[in-house]
Every structure is written in structure tokens, then in C-alpha cells.
Symmetry: D2
Subunit: 400 residues, 4 copies
């Protein structure tokens, strides 16, 4: 296949991006197998999704670092895989790194702003001008790399919640707001607007709400572009989305569900800011009531524990009543390397959204719900039933 398609990452030198890049290089070189890649399951064989060698990676980043450095540091601190894998990928990583451009910032809150380069921090341009810069970067990427399509995936740090009441519901009104010097839209809105305006697919892998509003969905429909989100489901919430149905199916009454999460990567540092944490907790908490049909007492904590690095450890304690009111307990612990869990899903989402865009699907892709903590466009949260949606979508699509 001689076509080339671009994967543009927002947060292109972060932990997840560095594993996406290292992993893609390894897949292109045949140096790893397809464990962890949903799109490689036999259910999707006939779709002939984009092959690894057709993919070209670029992105935006607000910090001063480099992809090879991020990959090296990730490997050393996580020990997730062997150092030789980074060594082998080094030239590919350098090439991808050369396609990374300085990102933009808007209403991202102090925790994220503190990470950014001075010039980005002090950028006083209007929202419109920032959108135009992103559009220019994307256009240059597509042109220079001779790409047929691009899909943008947001991997940036979680923003504080947006006050939706301040946002208009029509694209026209939102568009007008871009010239307002006090435009309240956060970075994630601006990236999404740029992507969709150019007709590129958009995936929100983060809990940030900037692209989850009616006006932006309208833009996607106007431009006939697919979008998908929100917040990649990688660990504790993945497990919740299979466990909670078991209690519902058995008519066991969950009295309380407590989840404590500890980890020490950059994401964790940002979430140590209560404003940013609020977006994340809201995203993790909604599914219980939706699956159970009632709201048990729930408590979710996310704490930054430096020594854990990317190894997100969760303890969940589920207190429930059975027959005759008997109280019982289930507990689980999850020790997962967060970027290792997230990165293949980014590649999967890229492949599915790329195919959807290529074959003319647009608007919110609800059949991608199984990938997200807070799936947009559907209310189904049971992982198995979400996967059935994906499987059925695939079953009705011809190959290629």
C-alpha cells in the first residue's frame, strides 16, 4: 500500500506519545508483536486497516524536550521493556521528532501553563490566531509528507473543566467567539477546531472537555469529519466497566465503591492540581450509576506518588449486599504501566477513525465507546456490550 496517512499527536513528547512512537517504530521494523492492539484482533482482519508502514507521525508540544529523550527516560524509569527496543527505534524517533512543532496554550490552568516554554506561556495572540497557527502546522505536515489524510489525537495533560454555560451551542456563534480577547475556550477546543476545519478526524484521548460541546460537533458534521472521545479507558475504569455489570446482572446491591489511584508520571503531577483533577474524577465516576441504575456512595482519589512513575496502581473496594441483606466485599488491585496500556489504543483509534474518515463516516463515532471512560454519543458503559457495538460495526463493513 503506497498511501501515506498522518497521525498528529497533541502532547507529542509526553509519556504516551513516546510509547506510541517507540511502539510504531518497533511494529514497522517487525520487532514486536501485536499484543495490546485491539485493531489486530481477528474480528477486524477483513477491514484491512491501515498498515504500520503507511503511518507518519508528527505533533505539537508545549515543553522543551525531545522524543528520543522522552522514550529513553520512559524506558529507564519504567523498565517496561528492554533498553534495546529504544536503541533500535532511535533513528525513527529522531525523524518523528523533527516533525514536532511548538503547541499553543489557552485557558489551560496554572498547572499546565507552568510546564510550557516561555514563548508559549507568553503568547498573547487571539484564539483565532492560535487556531490559524495550528492549521498552518497541519497543512504543512500534510503537504511536506504527501499525506492523503491526517487524524489528530489529543494526548495533552488534562485541563480544568470548562464552564459549558459560557459556550454557545451553534458553530457560528462559537466561531465568532474566537476573535474575543477574553475567549474562554481552552487549548483542546482550539486544536479540535483547527483539525475539523481542515477536514481531519479528531480523537480526544483525554478527559479535557474543550471539544465536547454541541458547537464543535456541529462543525464536524458540517465538514463531514469523524470525531471520537473521551478519555482513554486503560486501567481501573476498564475493570470497573466489566465488574459493575456483574453486580447488576446478579441483582447485588453495591453500597459503596471506593477507588484509590496512585502514580507518579507527568499526568499525575498535573492531576495533583485540584482543578485539573476534577475533570478526571468526573470522567472516572460517571459509569457506575449508568451501569447499576442507582448511585452508590463512591469515592475516587488520584494521588501523585513519585516513586511509581508510570506504574499506575489502583485499589478498589466494593461493598455490596446480597440475599437477605448480607454485606460482602470484593477488592482488586491493578498494577499497570499506564502509557503502555494507552499507546496501543491510540494506534487502534487512529486506524479505526482513519478508516471511518476514508469511507465517509462523520460526526461522533459512538461505536468506539469501548475505548473511552466517558464515551461520547452513547450511554453504554458495559465493556462487553461496547465491544459488541464495535464488532457489529466491523461485521457490516466490507474489507479494504
Amino acid at each position: 500500500m503506497s498511501q501515506r496517512v498522518g497521525l498528529w499527536l497533541i502532547g507529542a513528547q509526553g509519556g504516551v506519545a513516546s510509547v506510541v512512537a517507540t511502539g510504531l517504530a518497533a511494529l514497522q521494523a517487525g520487532a514486536t508483536d501485536d499484543i495490546g492492539l485491539v485493531s489486530c484482533l481477528p474480528e477486524f482482519d477483513h477491514l484491512r486497516l491501515l498498515d504500520w508502514n503507511s503511518m507518519v507521525v508528527g505533533g505539537h508540544e508545549i515543553r522543551s524536550t525531545s522524543l528520543p529523550e522522552a522514550a529513553r527516560q520512559f524506558q529507564q524509569s519504567s523498565r517496561a521493556f528492554d533498553a534495546s527496543l529504544v536503541d533500535q527505534s532511535m533513528s525513527a524517533l529522531r525523524e518523528m521528532d523533527s516533525r514536532i512543532r511548538p503547541g499553543i496554550l489557552a485557558n489551560a490552568g496554572p498547572a499546565i501553563t507552568a510546564l510550557a516554554n516561555e514563548s508559549i506561556k507568553n503568547d498573547c495572540r487571539t484564539a483565532r490566531e492560535k487556531v490559524e497557527q495550528v492549521e498552518a502546522d497541519l497543512a504543512e505536515f500534510a503537504k511536506s509528507q504527501e499525506l492523503e489524510r491526517v487524524v489528530i489525537v489529543n494526548l495533552a495533560s488534562t485541563e480544568p473543566p470548562v464552564d459549558a454555560a459560557r459556550l454557545p451551542v451553534s458553530w457560528k456563534a462559537l466561531d465568532a467567539m474566537l476573535d474575543d480577547p477574553d475567549c474562554p475556550l481552552p487549548s483542546s477546543s482550539l486544536y479540535a477546531i483547527a483539525a475539523l476545519s481542515l477536514g481531519h478526524g479528531w480523537v480526544n484521548f483525554t478527559p479535557s472537555l474543550g471539544a465536547s460541546c454541541e458547537a464543535i460537533t456541529e462543525l464536524a458534521l458540517l465538514k463531514k469529519v469523524p470525531l471520537a472521545g473521551r478519555d482513554g479507558k486503560t486501567g481501573e475504569t476498564l475493570i470497573k466497566s466489566v465488574l459493575a455489570p456483574a453486580f447488576a446482572i446478579r441483582n447485588l446491591r453495591v453500597m459503596s465503591w471506593v477507588g484509590h489511584n496512585i502514580f507518579g508520571n507527568l499526568d499525575g503531577e498535573i492531576l495533583d492540581d485540584p482543578a485539573n483533577k476534577q475533570s478526571k474524577v468526573a470522567s472516572k465516576d460517571r459509569l457506575l450509576a449508568e451501569i447499576l441504575g442507582y448511585r452508590p456512595q463512591s469515592h475516587i482519589s488520584i494521588e501523585y506518588i513519585a516513586s511509581l512513575g508510570d506504574w499506575k496502581t489502583a485499589w478498589d473496594h466494593i461493598h455490596f449486599r446480597g440475599f437477605l441483606g448480607t454485606p460482602m466485599v470484593m477488592q482488586f488491585t491493578w498494577q499497570g504501566c499506564d502509557s503502555i496500556l494507552a499507546a496501543p489504543l491510540v494506534l487502534d483509534l487512529f486506524r479505526f477513525v482513519e478508516r471511518a474518515g476514508r469511507t465517509g463516516e462523520s460526526g461522533v463515532l459512538g461505536w468506539l465507546a469501548c475505548f473511552f471512560k466517558a464515551p461520547e454519543g452513547v450511554s453504554e458503559n458495559n465493556l462487553t456490550l461496547q465491544f459488541e457495538m464495535l464488532r457489529r460495526w466491523a461485521a457490516t463493513r466490507a474489507g479494504g
Copy 2:
């Protein structure tokens, strides 16, 4: 509703039976709610399943004890519910107790045989004669209680595995074997044969294999009677049947799955005998390979720890690989009161099988798979998809 239907329990004074009896008395008196009862979920409202007051309980037991005593002892040692619940149920329990008859024994292995009364232990009658005794007891129960139908549920201790190679595949040949003084059929076969011969539904809630053979299925079809089994899915395996799909759906590679179970009830004492344990472990172990599509290293232990009584505690350790081969770990612990989890499922199965029998369904009821560790008639082990089978069955049935 003036109809009366009988629930006949094999192992009628054991832990599960004592909770079935106490719970049914509480439901009949309106003294408890429907937590833990699957058949009370809204999905089944329109079926108008048998109400609690139409149910009459009887059964067989090989030991010398009593239902009131078993219920009292269960409450005191488990502290699952308040003592007042047993007090209130006392007269109902005594009445049910008066309908319990001495059971039979055949090829049940030394651990079970050791529990039985002397007269049952030393009973040298042929298999045919034992079947006839069971039939006579069931007929007397139906007649004296003026029952429209009876469903038999096997709750007896787990038997050692049966060597299926020694059993004929046709009912005719199996029937002939009943006169053989060396007939290898275990108790559970004889009970099932008696139940089905009289046209009663049969549910095997245990791992015993005595009723899981072609010849007995043929008998059910001949008699146009439903049967369902095998081995109630109450705790660790229930959780496995939702967790394993999460690994499959994410294409995560399970390297090993270790499950250690400890508990101290009579069931646990019997399973301390390696022969009996073999049936149980086999039943618990099969679903992993069926869900994952490959066989990870697995280890299941079941140990008798007296102090735990009915509180079955399990620790599962799942070692899996993610993207780029990264090893990760999930662990869970389950602290469930086993009879409290099992008893409502017995009532559910009774209600579903009763309705199936009433409306002319016969043979193996595969749509009851969600209740069983080793469901007969289907290969689906994902709890959510099993429940979808039940839900769809219900959706296509009219009320009443």
C-alpha cells in the same frame, strides 16, 4: 394465584438449602427484599414468574440433622443476617423439614459416604430400586401437597468424577444398566433419572457429572422435560467470567491466572478429598481457555480452612503482557458468603425452569448459562453475553 408448585432439593438440610428455606420463608412473609434474586430484575417482570407463596419445598437428605437446626447454625457461625430472621421463619422451617425424606447413595466416594446415616450407607439395593424409591418419594410429595409441577434441584456434595467411557450413550442402554449390581452410576444420575422419568424439571447446581451424559439428555427429550446445569456460578468464577473478557477485548495476553480459594463449610470438607476436588477444579478451570482462545498457565486451589465457615475467600493473581511485551499484574480478593450467594440463584433457576416446563420447553436450557460455571448446551462463558441470552429469551416470551 392458587396453583402450587414443588421445589425438591437434593441435599435438603445442607447450607445452601437452609438459606433457600429461610429466605423463601422471609420472602413469603414479606420480611426481606429481592436483593440477589436475578429473576426479580425488571427485565423479567412481564413473565409473571411463580410467586413465592405458590412454592412448596421438600427434599432428600442423607445425614441426620434438621432444617431448623441447620438454619440456626448457619446464622450463628456466618453472622450473615440477624438471628431474628431465623426466629421468624421457624414454623415454616419446621414444616419444610417434615417433608424431607432419607436420600440415596451410590458410588459417591468415601468422603460423602462418611457423612451418611448408617442405613443409607449400608443400603445394598440395586440402582433400579434406589431410583424407584426416589420416584415414590417425589410422587408422594406431589400428591400429598397437591402440586401441579415439581422441579428438582441438586445441591448435594460434589461427587468424584464419573468415567464417562463406562457409560452408554443411549437411554435404553443406560436404563438396562440400572439392574446391574455393579452399576457405576453415582447418586446424582439416579436422582436425575427419577426426576425426569416422572416428567419433572431437573437443575444440577453442583459440579457432579452424573446427570451430564447423552443418555440422560435423551431421557429428558423423550419425556419433554427441561434440564439445566452445571455448577452454580457464585463467586470467584463469576468474577472470572467478566474479567477474562476484558483481557480478550483489549488483546492483552494472560500468561498465568492463579486462583486460591479458602473456606470452611461442609462443601469445603468434602472438597478436601482430592477425588471430589477434581470435579470442582475442572468445572472452575474450563472457562479461561474458552474465553481467551488459548490456555494460559492456570492454578486453582481449594482449601478447607475451618475458621472461615461459609465465607469463601478467594485471591486471584493475573499476570499478563501488554504492548511491547510489558508484564503487568491484576489481583482480586473476594469475600462472599457462599450459601447466601447460591440460595437466590436456586430460587431463580426454579422459577425459570418451572416456567419453561409449564410452557413446554424441554431438553437442555442453554439460555440459563449465566447461572453456571460449566453451562451445558452452550459454549458462551462471558457473563454479559450469557445474560443477553437470558434477556433475549425473556423478551420473546409473553407474560404469565
Copy 3:
């Protein structure tokens, strides 16, 4: 033994007090054994500590409830022991209840104040007057019950921290402050002052800091009275005080120690207020650095989860480095019934402090360190070495 000694509880109708009362009644009646009672270990046999039948219980309480009611409710919600134990103790509980007097409040923060009766809440008397009321109640108790001695044990809810900088260091200056209408002393200071002034022993079983200041220690020495504290070591911290030494002894480097505590009793409700929680967390957190000799990253949370009631559940995650810098993990969960763990220690402390007072020991009793999370008078936090202190103290005392 015909002597009678009084145990006066501050918080006399709370969870711990209700188990102290129920348990003492059971011990007096010979209806329970000595499990959980440290003072009943063979190491202390020769001391001939006060026997159960010489003990008379009274106390102060700021809420409107009753001891029989509190005991009944505790039994029903916790299912810790059989209901019959409360039934048998009922007349003893009613008698103890008749000796409970309305308590006082001062600078206790909004969470505690909200619990109190209106008349206590609105009590505008000076600190001096409140101390005098407590003294009068104690004197009346001693006289009416013909007591040879009294020991006061503080079991009241945790107060917000006291700003020690506002307190004078000499008893004379503190005494003068009692007339100040803006006297900053919290309730726990006033109770301690009353107790010590009358020459009674004082035990602080809570994290409240009101009695932990130089001036009050000076008062105890002046009056030749023993005092002991602070914060009963019952669960997670008990385990920490044996586990942390293992890491120190093996020269393993603890990088982080995370402890999450969930429970749902009244204590938990009060600790849901951040001001009150601060005292508790400080008390739980200090021992790690003292045992290890350095300060790993630590995080302690205490959350109110209503369904758990008195069953305090803790999850601790310890991340440590071994040889060649290898990171490893230990985790534990603790499921303990908090009042059941605390109550026998209250009886133990009463017996040890009573003996110390009787035989002329005064000031801070450092050899009681093994009972406390934040032991006063010593810096030893290793439970085994703390117990060695108690054992050696006992070994050097003659009997009786």
C-alpha cells in the same frame, strides 16, 4: 477484693464506650474470655491488676443518646458479636448509663459542636466554670460510688489541632488563662485539668492535643498523678509499627508508603472535617520517619464511607528498593472492627494506670508506649520494643 475504682469516660455513649461497657459487663459476668486484653497476658499475671468486679464506670457525654441504645445499635450494624451479649448486659448498661453526666464543650470546632445538645452548645460559661463543673461531677461520682480512685479516659471525637504557640508553658500561667473569656483551650484540656487537679490519672486515647502541653504535664507532676497518651494504636498504625522495622532491619529503602483508610462510624464523620482530620493524620504519620530514620513520601487518607460502619478498612502500599536498586512492593489490607479493637485497650490502660497511681508513679508513663500511635514521653515506635518496655516495667514490679 472489696475496693472499688472508677473508670470515667469522656464520650461515654460513643462507639468505643459502648463496647467498653458491654465488654466489661460480659467480663464481670464471666460471659466472655480475655481475647484482645493485653493486661491479661501471662507477663502481667503477677501484678494482680484490678479485677473486673472492682470497676465502676461513669462518664461525660455531649449528645442525647443512651448507653443501652448505643450498644444495641453497635451490635446490629457491626454484627461483631451476638445480639445475646447485649441482652445479657442490659441491666449493667442501664446502671452505667445512670452515671453519665452532660459534658462540656470548648473550642471543639464546628463538626463536634454540631453533635452536641443545645444547652451544651450554648453554654457561655468561662473555661474555669466548665472545669469546676467537671470537677464537681467527678467528685460526686467518687463519693456516691465510694471509690478509692478514679482514672479518666478521653474517648471523645478528635478535635482540630491546638495552636501550641498560644499556650503558656507553666501551669501557673495556664491556670490564669482559664478566666479569660477568649481562653483558647479546647474541651480536652479542660477535662484533663479537672481530672489532674483532683488527683486522678488521665489517659488520652484520642489524637486531640489539648492535654499534650508542658503546663498540663507540670500540673500532673505537682499533683503526683500519672498520665498517658496519645491516640490508641488499634489498626493500620499498629501494623505499620511492626512492618516499618522490618524494612529498617533489612536496610531496604522505603520510597513511598501510602495508606488509605475507609470507615463509617461517628469518628469517621467527624474526621470528614479537614480541621479534625489534620490532628489524626499527623498522629498516624509521624512514626515512619522515626522508625526508618528518613522520611519517605507518604500519603494517608481517611474517608467516611457510611456502609462500612465501624469496620475500618485500610489498604497500605509500600514501595521500596532492595539490592542494586530493585523496586519491589508490599501491600496489606486490614479489616478490623475499630471499637472492638479499641475497647480492650481502654480497659488495659485503665488497669495499668490505676496500678501506677496506686503505687505512686506520676507524670507521663512512657512505658505504656505500645498502646499509642503518638506515644508521649518516648520516641520508640517499634511495637516489639515498646512492648519490651512494658514487660520490663512489669518484671520489676512486685505483685498486688
Copy 4:
């Protein structure tokens, strides 16, 4: 310090030995710090124990492998430390490897025998001749390396239990037995006899019982040589030896203590043989009754789970009663890299035993109890009190 002292390892190319070798090379090169080394605690500074550069390693091995290969494989499969550490140690490892000699085998059971080279497996010499071979190897090592002393540490796989009734109690009689063609002594006895006969210190880091008999202790006293053992306390048992005292000190009644261990190294493969496992389980199980003063129901399992490699994972479930008979639960999980935990203790034991030998201590060194699961010469199992023994020993020794 110009002196040179030899550390001779039995099982010199196994997992623990490979970490001892890699770690010693790193310590000699100053490439790692002293985490995990007990002998580097400040309590022992004044003893001026042997420095790393004075140590020379050699040993016996029955398999065909190499130290560099074992170290490489350990690093790759465990990911315990960075690959660069092995790279840096490569020349040191090769040098140590050149000093490894073919070991001997006697009555080691089929699991161990299956590992051995053909020539060792088929070696029909008498026990006497095998002892003489070991002596010759040790003598050659001491001479060629110009060593002042040697300490032998047994790291070989766990042997099946020895029937002590078949062994004489005097050295003279045991010595005579060496010529018997049916001499029942296992390899570990023969190695110990050779070591002690030459006047070298002996440490048994394994559960093997071959050197734990009166006759061999007599030999050590005759030769004025120190010996220490048995079974390095590295993980689950280490934790037990601090946790069990907490229950004893609080007079809490342990009803049952269940410990499940899973791991996948060579040690685990050998322990999959029930005969070998019996020695290990006995060694792990004895301390509970010794600490608690009574014998709760206990269950210990050790299972070989290949995917875990050297990462020994244990789950312990402790069921205990508190005041008024209330049952409660504590659980812990331990995820430790076994060889990483063991190797520094081997270096510590070497240094302590070397110093003891140098300064004329002989016989069983009971003050090393804190290092062992089944300490010889003392009955103390509380880790803190064991460490106090070591600390006091050190405190009474002058430096150097």
C-alpha cells in the same frame, strides 16, 4: 587492607549466586550503593567488617551453565536492574566463573538429580571420596588465591528431608558412615563436612537439613569453626516474623493463617517436587506456633508459575479473633524479587561469619538468627528481638 578471603558458593551458577556475583562486582566497582545490606547499617560500622575488595568468589555447581550467562538471563527475565550493570560486571563475572568446579551429588532426590551433568549424575564414588574431592577443590582455591580464610555458603536447591533417625549423633560414628556404600547423607552433609574439616566457616542458606545434625555440630566444635543456618529469611516469612508478634502482643487470637506463594525460578521448579517442597514448607511453618504460643490452623502452598520468574509473590490471609470473639481479617501481598532479596544477605552472612571465625568464635552462631527462617541454636523468631541479638553481639565487639 591487603588480606584476601574466599567466599565459596554451593550452587555457584544459580539465581542467587549470579546476583551475589553481579552485586559484588558492582560494589567493588563502586557502581551501586548499600541498599539491602544489613552489614552496612550504622550499628555495625565499628566492626570494620571485611571490605568488598578483599573478597574472592568461587564455588561448586552441578549444572552446565556459566555465571555470565546466568547473570544475563536473570537480568533479562527479571528486569530487576539495568542491563548496563551486567555489562559492567562482565569481566569480573568471567573471572569468578573460572573458579567454579563441578559439584557432587548424593541422595538429592530425582528433581535435583535431573538437573545435573551426566558425569555428576553417574558418579558412583563413596561419600568419603566425594568429601575428599570437595576438600581438594577448597584447598586448591585457598592456595591458588592466597586466601587467609574461606567461608562456604550453601545456595543449592532444597533437598528432600533427611530421616534423622538414620543418623548417628556422634561425629565419630558419622565419619565412619562415609565409607558405607549406602551412606544416606545428602550432598549438603558432605559439603558441610568438607568445609568444617578444613576449618572453614559454613552457612546453610537453604532449608536442606543435611548439615543440621548433632554430629556435624560436634565436628564444628572440634575444629573450632563457626556455622550458621537455616534457610534465608527473605520474603513472606520475614513479614510473618514481624506480623505474628503484633497479634501476640495484642492478645489477638489467630484462628488461621494461610500463605500462598507463587514464583517461577529454578528453585520453584525443584519445589514442585513434593519431597523437596516438604523441607521448605516445614521451614516456613514452624515460626507461627513459636511466636504465638499455640498452633493456629495454617496452610502454606508453594506453586511454580513460570511467568513470574524470580518475582516471588505471596498472599497471606490471617483470620483472627478480637475482643468479645469478633472475627477480623488481615491480608498482605508481597511482590519481591527473590534473588535480589537473598543475595545481600549472603554477603552479610559471609562478613559476619568471616569476622566470627577470624576472632575465634565457633559452633552454631545463634546471634545470626535474624537472617534465617528456621534459626539454629535459638528459638527466638521475632525479627526485632533477633536483630537485638545481633546488635548486642556487635555492641560488645571491638572494631577491626
